[in-house]
């Protein structure tokens, strides 16, 4: 097998010669994680007065609460306190942006599983058992679970939005051929291995200290303050690490922290709440299911002239982040292709489901898959190989370089990435052997597909594109870095430590990145939108610059040198012919009364988006990549395997090739799960049926493709990102669309590649078999 990481590492190391970045440093917590002493919230030693909370949830899907009888709950063994929305001293609504998410149901039931009351007891088992004993009378009202019914009832959580370039209707009418299609795109449960958990510890007077597993400590701080009706400066949120987040702890962690804080404040004791897995899956939002459709006008060569796409996000009962999520689906309906004159419409439908939320890709995947559906449809219509269709329709540098929202695609890497990947993966030769395989195999059929990814980097809510940091140098030369980003496994703290070490010219072992605390860096953005390193890395670098500048002036003045000539490297500081150990300079600076601590700040330049016109440059840059997947399907059962995957992905100048590769592999497999086995099923009465890990199947170890080649397209970002690296959290997720396209390719072989099969996602074995039977029945 090819040694892909090593190759990449060589390139990176040349870019970052003698530096702490660009190297495959191990995850900062790796040794503790493998030894079992990396501490998560539930592992923390508890204060001696800790009590345990659980929630009582609705078994109705929609209605008005007419009576709440909690006598049995109160009488249950070990119960200390029971609260409902009435007991909240401050705000009941803890919605992140637009109203609609009560911390406990406030008169109305919006979805099956909604929290109605919370119990505090002396043990977790007593709390959970008591929580089953509530008698809640609900006058049920008709519920809506799907997008069509919501459209019919005109139920939207937010207004619809449109993007438009040119006159799509007119150009469509003139096109030589038009094609239409629709696609049902499934949602996804996050399955962070560590479930939702919070520990609230009351402090002096009305102050509150909260440990939580959250991607957004500042928001938890704000919401805890609001439910308690205290000022923000009374609340400290501390977040060391999450056992996975993936977007599921961006807004969805706050409710549990608020409930813990409410009970802690009322009872003056520490309160821990940890959701059992089944409840976690029922009461927290998921990736939005979408119902999308397209119409394209093409010329006889399969080049798009006009595009109309409608995306319908099933948002659940409240807005949560759905405005931005559906926007991102719209921003990515082009993926890497020039849509010609285009019209993109996005609707945010309200249903009686848990409020769907952020999940890696944030709507991007549900939009991007439409672009790939369009490519497949064109290829089958024109008889082209799907790769040819894709190459022909890529953005190019001439006129065809404007997106549906008016942003110019500069420095487009996709033509090169696709051609390099097609070559390294032997695409064309394998295409031939697969055709032969399919002609000679009656039951098994193979499919092959290559798909690109172009993903916009930046929060589309402009104000979130800022970050703060706080860096301390101590008198033994050790350095502590703190920033607003949170560590959920993605290696952010490792990269931050590398950046800090690199700036001071010391080893990463001299740098510790501490837990994320709202009293160290305030008013931070969520760790989301792949932005963790881009934003916080720059903010930390900015803090380092300030300290270095003080040290440089101090050192230069000792030798009548210029501060700008001072260099930090190899644990030493140099100016002209003079050199001093870093630690010695730090100690001298301390005695010389020089500040060894600084905060840093960063805001992303260049970005703007005018929602009233649907035009702008919402993204600082794009991250690119492409993947090739080969699958084998069984036409008797619909079962299939992914035999081989090759990936070439753009991370700019990699800060840490091993961590970046880990994000790419992990994102790909998570995306593959979304499109294949992860099947969210709601009962028509509104209950989530796939509510545990026995019925909801994420990829297991045997699903990892036997051949899995991952290579970094290692070239510096042309924009001024941190050391010209690129964000890597979300983009690789969408590389998995090639698996879906390969499944369709295998099914299409039954029609000799003349028919594009309808294959909604997730493409379970059942759906694949149905598509096979449709194909065979239709011939």
């Amino acid at each position: 097998m090819r040694k892909l990481v090593e190759q990449s590492a060589v390139i990176s190391e040349n870019l970052h010669a003698n530096k702490q970045v660009g190297k495959s440093k191990r995850h900062e917590s790796a040794t503790r994680q493998v030894c079992g002493n990396a501490r998560y919230v539930d592992d923390m030693p508890e204060p001696s007065n800790t009590k345990y909370a659980a929630i009582g949830i609705s078994q109705s899907t929609s209605g008005k609460i007419s009576n709440v009888n909690l006598e049995k709950v109160r009488a249950s063994e070990g119960v200390i306190d029971v609260i409902t929305a009435k007991d909240v001293p401050g705000h009941v609504d803890i919605a992140p942006v637009f109203d609609g998410d009560p911390v406990l149901a406030d008169g109305e039931i919006k979805f099956n599983g909604q929290a109605i009351f919370a119990v505090l007891a002396d043990s977790i088992m007593n709390a959970r058992r008591a929580a089953l004993l509530g008698n809640i009378d609900i006058i049920e009202t008709p519920h809506i679970l799907d997008v069509d019914a919501a459209h019919e009832a005109t139920r939207f959580v937010r207004p619809s939005h449109e993007m438009q370039m040119g006159d799509a209707d007119k150009t469509m009418a003139l096109a030589e051929l038009t094609l239409e299609g629709s696609l049902s795109v499934g949602g996804q449960e996050h399955v962070y291995l560590e479930g939702q958990v919070s520990l609230a510890v009351p402090e002096e007077e009305d102050r509150m200290h909260v440990y939580t597993s959250s991607q957004h400590p500042s928001e938890v701080q704000k919401l805890v303050a609001e439910v308690l009706d205290i000022k923000l400066h009374k609340v400290v949120v501390d977040m060391r690490r999450m056992g996975g987040g993936f977007g599921g702890k961006e807004t969805q962690a706050a409710q549990w922290a608020c409930i813990a804080a409410l009970l802690a404040s009322r009872n003056n004791c520490a309160v821990k709440i940890r959701l059992p897995r089944q409840q976690d899956m029922m009461v927290t939002g998921k990736r939005h299911p979408f119902e999308n459709s397209f119409k394209v006008g093409i010329n006889n060569n399969g080049i798009i002239q006009a595009t109309q796409v409608i995306v319908n996000g099933n948002c659940g009962h409240s807005p949560d982040l759905s405005d931005a999520i559906v926007d991102r689906a719209m921003f990515h309906a082009d993926n890497g292709y020039y849509l010609g004159d285009s019209h993109i419409a996005g609707h945010r439908l309200q249903t009686n489901m848990v409020s769907h939320t952020a999940y890696r890709g944030f709507g991007g995947p549900q939009g991007m898959i439409m672009a790939e559906a369009i490519m497949d449809a064109i290829a089958r219509k024109t008889g082209q190989d799907p790769l040819t269709t894709r190459l022909n329709n890529l953005y190019d540098d001439a006129k065809r370089n404007t997106t549906q929202y008016g942003m110019t695609v500069e420095n487009n890497l996709l033509p090169d990435i696709l051609s390099k990947l097609a070559e390294s993966s032997d695409y064309w030769q394998r295409r031939d052997s697969i055709k032969t395989f399919n002609q000679t195999h009656a039951i098994l059929k193979k499919g092959l597909a290559i798909t690109p990814v172009k993903f916009g980097i930046s929060f589309t809510a402009k104000h979130l594109n800022q970050a703060g940091a706080l860096v301390h140098v101590y008198t033994d030369g050790s350095i502590q870095a703190n920033h607003g980003g949170t560590e959920m496994g993605q290696g952010l703290h490792t990269k931050i430590a590398q950046i800090t070490a690199n700036e001071f010219g010391v080893s990463v072992d001299d740098v510790d990145v501490t837990s994320t605390r709202t009293d160290k860096v305030p008013n931070t953005s969520p760790t989301a939108a792949s932005s963790g390193t881009d934003l916080n890395g720059k903010a930390v670098q900015n803090a380092c610059f300030k300290i270095k500048s003080e040290l440089a002036q101090f050192f230069a003045s000792q030798h009548q040198a210029k501060a700008e000539n001072v260099r930090f490297a190899n644990n030493k500081v140099y100016v002209d012919e003079h050199c001093i150990d870093f630690v010695a300079l730090v100690q001298q600076a301390y005695v010389g009364r020089v500040s060894l601590s600084a905060n840093g700040f960063y805001k992303t330049p260049k970005i703007h988006y005018d929602r009233s016109t649907g035009k702008g440059r919402p993204f600082f840059y794009f991250a690119y990549g492409a993947s090739v997947s080969e699958v084998t399907i069984d036409t008797l059962t619909g079962e299939y395997v992914v035999d081989r995957v090759d990936i070439l992905h753009d991370v700019g100048a990699s800060l840490n090739p091993a961590i970046d590769k880990g994000q790419i592999e992990g994102g790909f497999i998570q995306g593959m799960g979304w499109l294949t086995t992860e099947d969210l099923r709601w009962h028509e009465d509104g209950r989530l049926m796939s509510n545990n890990l026995a019925t909801y199947k994420i990829p297991a170890i045997g699903d990892t493709p036997k051949i899995f080649n991952v290579d970094l397209y290692d070239r510096p970002n042309t924009e001024d990102s941190i050391y010209h690296s690129k964000a890597v959290g979300e983009p690789p997720f969408m590389l998995a669309i090639s698996v879906w396209c390969a499944l369709k390719d295998a099914i299409s072989s039954l029609s000799n590649y003349t028919v594009d099969p309808q294959l909604d996602t997730p493409a379970t074995a059942e759906r694949v078999l149905n598509a096979v039977n449709d194909m065979q029945g239709g011939i």
Binding site: L444, I659, I669, A694
Partner: protein, 492 residues
């Protein structure tokens, strides 16, 4: 008393709730938080621990068997007389175990929450017998790894670095502190196992048939427990208290595995993983379904008797045992009666087992002729998933290639594991290679069952698939068609 080694420490427990799981014991009673709770239902593996037990061979060749299990669905009864090994014990940050070092070196942890579970599954693999010296060495090694880690979910890495770490760390002969201390550990475990007065007032561990009978009489409301992988869910998921439990796992006869000339006898408390080798030695084509039965840690605990007594319509072993014409030996403590398995399942999760009876063993008759046996499982995921449909066929042909006997077993298609007697009866005497036989079987199976729609599959899919599995069986067992590839995964 419950007695075991917790890592190196001898632990004696006199009083404890019967339904205390090993996971909660570690985390709550011992503040050993390296072992994580991900699901509390045996589905994710974050809580994986390793148990070392004395093998049952002669004292002179005493060795330790290391196996992984899910501590979240394990009661203390399962670790009596054994060494419970947790992630904190196998290494530390300044002196890591080879499997820990390999995980670090291969960047195998991201969020790290699943990592201790993976480490423990890898530790069990490290200490297992591995046969990698064949021509298919590379494939087999990877197959060993994916089997050993089949019960561990990781949501971050995509598994590739974990596979690499396991291949790197587990390919060699074990050589760590545990192998160095093995003789001493064996001595300590022998000492513990000398004690015959075992169990507590809530957790009854009879060691003989007579004591089991006595316990059942004395505690009429107690539940029988073997592997506990299903029973424990009543506690961890439904939050029920299980006040008194009687474990059948400490009666040696109930764990017997006998190979007789005409039959195989599997004691009801034999874990599935111990049955695996013997069963597949006689019926090699059952390898795939046994390997797809839950995950390795579950198979290390779950028993054949439990899977049959449970009588779930979606259990994987009942259809296989139906097709193999097994008999269930049912014991009352006074006498043993033999019930053909096709009469054993009465209704949804109801069997012929009477109160105060238990399953003693399952007898699998060995066919006189070389039968064609296949068992197929269809599920959303290959590993660690529950069947949407399970179909098992056992075909005896005469010298003219005509059907002498056919028995079947199906799961996921009715309220109980079920046979199709119509199929079995209608095809006797038919020529196996004839297309009419295929078609007749298809048309019978098309209408044989009225399955339900549920979270795993639609009724329509189940009906289609069972017909197509019959087609697959026909293709795979006719000499003129058996070269046609029919399976997307080929197990070694």
């Amino acid at each position: 008393m419950i007695e075991f080694l917790l890592n190196d420490e001898l632990v004696r427990i006199e009083h404890e709730r019967a339904d205390l799981t090993v996971l909660n014991y570690l985390r709550d009673s011992r503040a050993m938080c390296g072992t994580k709770e991900g699901c509390a239902s045996g589905d994710c593996g974050a809580c994986t621990v390793v148990v070392a037990e004395l093998n049952t061979e002669q004292a002179s060749s005493r060795r330790l068997n290391y196996y992984s299990l899910n501590s979240c669905v394990t009661f203390l009864s399962a670790i009596h007389g054994k060494q419970l090994i947790t992630v904190e014990h196998i290494g530390n940050t300044s002196n890591m175990h080879p499997v820990q070092q390999a995980m670090v070196d291969n960047h195998g942890s991201q969020c790290g929450f699943c990592t201790p579970g993976f480490i423990m599954s890898m530790f069990a693999l490290y200490h297992s017998d591995k046969t990698t010296n064949t021509e298919k060495e590379a494939t087999l090694a990877r197959h060993h790894v994916t089997t050993a880690l089949s019960g561990n979910l990781c949501r971050c890495t995509g598994y590739q670095p974990i596979i690499n770490a396991a291949l790197e760390a587990c390919s060699n002969t074990p050589n760590d502190a545990f192998t160095a201390n093995e003789a001493f550990t064996i001595t300590r475990l022998i000492d513990i196992n000398k004690n015959t007065d075992i169990g507590t007032e809530q957790l009854i561990l009879p060691t003989t048939r007579a004591l089991l009978k006595q316990a059942l009489n004395k505690y009429p409301r107690a539940r029988l427990v073997a592997g506990s992988t299903d029973l424990a869910l009543e506690h961890t998921q439904q939050l029920n208290a299980l006040d008194t439990l009687i474990s059948v796992s400490h009666i040696p006869a109930l764990s017997r595995i006998e190979q007789r000339p005409d039959k195989l006898v599997f004691g009801a408390a034999s874990p599935l993983n111990k049955i695996h080798d013997v069963l597949t030695q006689y019926f090699p084509m059952l390898d795939e379904i046994v390997e797809r039965f839950a995950s390795l840690p579950i198979r290390n605990q779950a028993t054949l008797g439990g899977n049959i007594a449970n009588a779930s319509p979606i259990g994987d072993m009942p259809p296989v045992m139906l097709a193999l014409n097994a008999n269930v030996l049912v014991d009352s403590g006074d006498s043993v009666r033999k019930i053909p398995i096709n009469e054993f399942f009465v209704d949804y999760r109801k069997t012929k087992l009477q109160k105060n009876e238990w399953i003693d063993a399952i007898e699998v008759p060995l066919p006189e002729s070389k039968n064609q046996i296949r068992a197929y499982k269809i599920s959303k995921r290959f590993e660690d998933d529950i069947s949407a449909v399970c179909a098992a066929f056992n075909l005896a042909l005469d010298e003219k290639n005509c059907i002498k006997a056919l028995s079947t077993g199906f799961g996921g298609l009715a309220a109980t594991p079920i046979q199709s007697s119509l199929l079995q009866d209608s095809l006797i005497g038919k020529h196996w290679a004839s297309k009419e036989t295929l078609t007749l079987g298809k048309s019978i199976l098309q209408d044989a069952f009225a399955p339900i729609d549920d979270v795993r599959a639609s009724a329509a899919y189940r009906k289609t698939v069972v017909v197509n599995l019959w087609h697959r069986f026909w293709l795979e067992t006719n000499t003129s068609t058996q070269q046609i590839a029919t399976r997307v995964i080929e197990h070694a």
